[in-house]
Symmetry: C2
Subunit: 352 residues, 2 copies
């Protein structure tokens, strides 16, 4: 895959979890090379500094037009909408930059539920300038989709699902850390993406789970795992989780455990987070790691490790919690952003 030079639009959200697609792209993509981020609120900063304090040499511009004010070193080919707007719909304030990108001859790639390819203004502009509007959430036609058929039982690689106790809690990042750690240690490992960011990061196998007709989720998941197993013959396949088993706004996880016949699960948790994202008005609290581990076990899948998000806790308190939980569960409990995920590797090796 030759990465395409890209601008990424976050429209004021660069620092929020809404921009997690952009965050994923900043952490690394085989599909795009990020030249700059477009975000009026953070213009002038380095995008990496805004994300996690680590400079990445990717500047933030106020607008597409301000990016082009001085001739760019490398010409961008596409604008990626790198933010999930609340409700899945494009706010008017983002239309200007998308229009300008099209007028500059850039294709536009979007993972919004509201399909930009169906927008009259944008389609006309795209046609005039000979570029593409790509909606990665446009569901494939039913005739191209697969039902679950049990072919998973022929797959040779071991499957491990990386679940979390909430959405936007770091499942994909932990999954990527695990992938890199396994490969570094010589384990032939692949990752199945299940969301739009994974697609944008350029993993070869996966699906955009949340825009599929519900009846085909299990079959498409199985198809992706089986294709990965056949084509790349890995020893281990990591499956990126979505949402959380208990999230009432869209519970997810049982299909990842059952339809892939997973051999194990890794659970990402944020002990410093009180409420499910956006659910504080309902006093809807995150489960404890122990309760979530019990739920995964009730599905018959062993939990191999717990990984912790640093959010909302002082390092010392978090370290105390970590040690306590490790003791209680008898499982590796690690802080990926602080210590990496190396301590989980022996457990993964034992599985193979």
């Amino acid at each position: 895959m030759n990465p395409q030079p890209a601008l990424v639009l976050t429209n004021g959200h660069l620092r929020d979890i809404n921009a997690k697609t952009c965050h994923g792209l900043l952490r690394g993509s085989d599909r795009f090379t990020v030249l700059a981020v477009i975000d009026g609120k953070h213009a002038g900063s380095d995008a990496g500094s805004v994300l996690d304090g680590q400079e990445r040499g990717i500047p933030v511009y106020e607008s597409v037009e301000s990016f082009f004010r001085s001739p760019p070193k490398e010409e961008p080919r596409v604008l990626v909408v790198g933010v999930a707007f609340p409700g899945g719909k494009l706010p008017d304030s983002a239309r200007g930059d998308i229009g300008d990108a099209l007028r500059r001859g850039l294709g536009v790639i979007s993972g919004l539920h509201q399909l930009i390819g169906d927008d009259e203004e944008f389609s006309q502009l795209a046609q005039q300038h000979g570029v593409d509007l790509v909606d990665i959430r446009r569901p494939p036609s039913v005739s191209d989709l697969s039902f679950w058929n049990g072919s998973i039982y022929q797959a040779k690689a071991k499957r491990v699902a990386v679940l979390g106790t909430d959405c936007a809690i770091g499942k994909r990042t932990t999954c990527r850390f695990l992938l890199e750690a396994c490969r570094t240690q010589g384990l032939a490992t692949e990752m199945i993406y299940t969301g739009q960011t994974g697609w944008m990061q350029g993993y070869p196998h996966g699906l955009i789970l949340d825009s599929l007709p519900n009846d085909f989720v299990s079959g498409e998941l199985e198809r992706a795992v089986v294709a990965c197993d056949r084509e790349l013959s890995p020893e281990l396949i990591l499956i990126e989780g979505q949402s959380a088993l208990r999230n009432p706004s869209g519970p997810c996880g049982s299909e990842l455990l059952l339809s892939t016949a997973a051999h194990g699960a890794i659970l990402q948790h944020a002990p410093g987070r009180t409420f499910f994202v956006d659910q504080d008005p309902f006093d809807h609290r995150l489960p404890s790691a122990e309760k979530e581990v019990a739920l995964i076990l009730a599905y018959g899948v062993p939990v191999l490790a717990v990984t912790l998000h640093e959010e909302g806790m002082e390092p010392e308190a978090l370290e105390g919690y970590r040690a306590h939980l490790e003791d209680k569960l008898g499982l590796p409990v690690v802080r990926p952003l602080v210590e990496g995920v190396g301590r989980i590797l022996p457990t993964l090796r034992a599985l193979l």
Copy 2:
């Protein structure tokens, strides 16, 4: 709702669980009056006798043409495709009857994933004869769909989900029995349908869960329950289950428990069934009722009763199992087809 006189096509499957949409219609519908079933294999029988040995005065004809050979007492208005073909696709052997129905001026209603409205031959025929092709599984456009927003916490009615340990295990029938029993005893009760058969039976609130984009399942479920609560002010809302929590071909249930903030669950089980439907080649066995109850409890929802399907067990053995399970769980365990569901009513009353 004025029921439409209908023919129901089962194409040789009248006796199989594939025809469960037809079975639901034979058991009762406010949307359609079934005049006859079209099924080459069972032509000449009474449809009710084929279903469960109870005559219902609904004849089975070999084909649409054979139905019209003698002038019908009542003119049918539509042909309902009353069977889920394996893989969701229409076999060639069913095309003749659909074409003939259209030529006779009948509309056609289908719940197949393969949309008959997109079939060139059928659309031409429908246009020529001025009738409609209705695909009830055609997903609404994203702009008409709702995300989950927590409005469920304002609903006043208690919610009870009727889950099962497998698909095609009698969840909807038990749900209908419960609805009738509650109403008979003066409990203002409504049912939320979640599949195509429920739509065809004419319940006013619900959704066709399996054809929705996955991200909108929870929101549409919440919307249906909240609308039912607001418009009809029932004391109790029953929610029809789909598939099963542990079915790898498409697990379902957590959204029914969590997104509706269910106050309780009733579990339909078939102790005489060994394997999940169509999963005997994988040796994939149904969980025990005890294990499934534990899984529902792990989601934080109390189980109120277990209901049993008679399949695959002698009445005496089943009765022994029933008494044993009732004792073990300390919950009402009933056989709806034999004794009705009256014994569950006190538990439901206690909830209100």
